[in-house]
Symmetry: C2
Subunit: 224 residues, 2 copies
């Protein structure tokens, strides 16, 4: 019976982390929408969302610590719980970056300027997809899906570089709008960092699964 | 005897983490020196250093996992080991940011431009001090020292904002040098992120100590 209880707690932990991931993904999508449409209400929403993310982070952490303290998880469960703690940290930082985008948007509105094109929408879509895919890889325990996230990171990096180059050109043509263009550069940079966090999550999933695989291979070798 | 062995392993883990912190701190100082003096050899050094940091990170992580898997650490030791895993991640990301500064420096040299003043030297000194102080707080288990790190973060944030404002002014006066100034903006931003990581480390130290304090208070309450 106690082991069943333990596995129920592990399942609860996973559910909590998925709820946290949904908040983080929503924060990114809302922040990008807010930026593109100069929407101050959405900025406010992103800030409130961050408070919820911080609270969720503490709860997930405490659940994970309790499990480690009260049970003696075996290698594969231990690696899973440690992966959850790391992923939790990355999700919280994704929330921070979303707030950073909201803050730039507020500055943009204060400057009474429209968002500059750059590929913010495309980067935002990709970054949100990376978070979703990374979480899916955790849910399914699928290292191949996690590898896909890592591959997507290159595309975001490329878009960030291209945006930056075109925004520098914009500044050279309209130097009085340097501050304005810099906001777009910083938003693109935040999205690039968000995709880095999604990549970290995918790496942690692989670590969890490969750890399990290695353990599995070791016991197969012993069985021979 | 086994408990003595366990405490020896905890001490070893702490030593390893301190060695890792020394590498990270050195990476930041070298990267800032490289930027200020356009020194490509130092850039190369920072890149090599990162390989060493990545290796050290994996070793610290594996040691921490082994301790969790083979021993059944009590609350205070458990929280310490979990803090080590998180701090380890922040140190590794500090190494990444140092490489990012080295990369900007290489672009700067390729553009054949000198470093722009901005307060990079001052920010670098502060960021390195924050890492050192955060590690000291871990070493001494002193939450007050950790609080000092968090206070220093505001100063770096202010310097970053001031640098950014003066660099935007520079761009407005010399639009053809926008790409050049943007490198300085990005280096300042990396230093700001490094100081965020040092702040995360300080927060983890406080979490470890306060966890211990709370536990202590609980057992005092039970004793009454």
């Amino acid at each position: 019976m106690p082991r069943i209880h333990f596995h129920q707690q592990l399942a609860d932990l996973k559910d909590r982390l998925l709820a946290m991931a949904a908040l983080a993904q929503q924060a990114v999508e809302s922040a990008v929408d807010a930026y593109i449409n100069s929407d101050l209400d959405l900025c406010q929403y992103v800030r409130k969302n961050e408070t919820a993310i911080n609270l969720a982070q503490r709860e997930v952490d405490e659940m994970a610590y309790d499990l480690l303290a009260k049970e003696q998880p075996m290698a594969v469960d231990l690696r899973f719980i440690l992966a959850v703690i790391k992923i939790n940290g990355d999700l919280e930082r994704i929330g921070d970056q979303a707030v950073s985008i909201a803050r730039r948007t507020e500055e943009l509105v204060a400057q009474n300027r429209p968002a500059l094109p750059a590929d913010i929408a495309r980067m935002g879509t990709l970054a949100a997809r990376m978070i979703r895919t990374a979480v899916l890889s955790l849910l399914d325990g699928d290292a191949q899906i996690a590898e896909n996230v890592i591959a997507m990171d290159d595309e975001v990096d490329d878009l960030n570089r291209e945006s930056q180059a075109s925004l520098i050109e914009f500044i050279q043509n309209s130097p009085d709008r340097a501050a304005h263009a810099l906001l777009a550069i910083m938003v693109a940079r935040s999205l690039e960092r968000i995709s880095d966090h999604a990549t970290n999550i995918a790496t942690d999933v692989i670590f969890w699964i490969r750890g399990a695989d290695l353990r599995h291979q070791a016991s197969l070798a012993e069985a021979e």
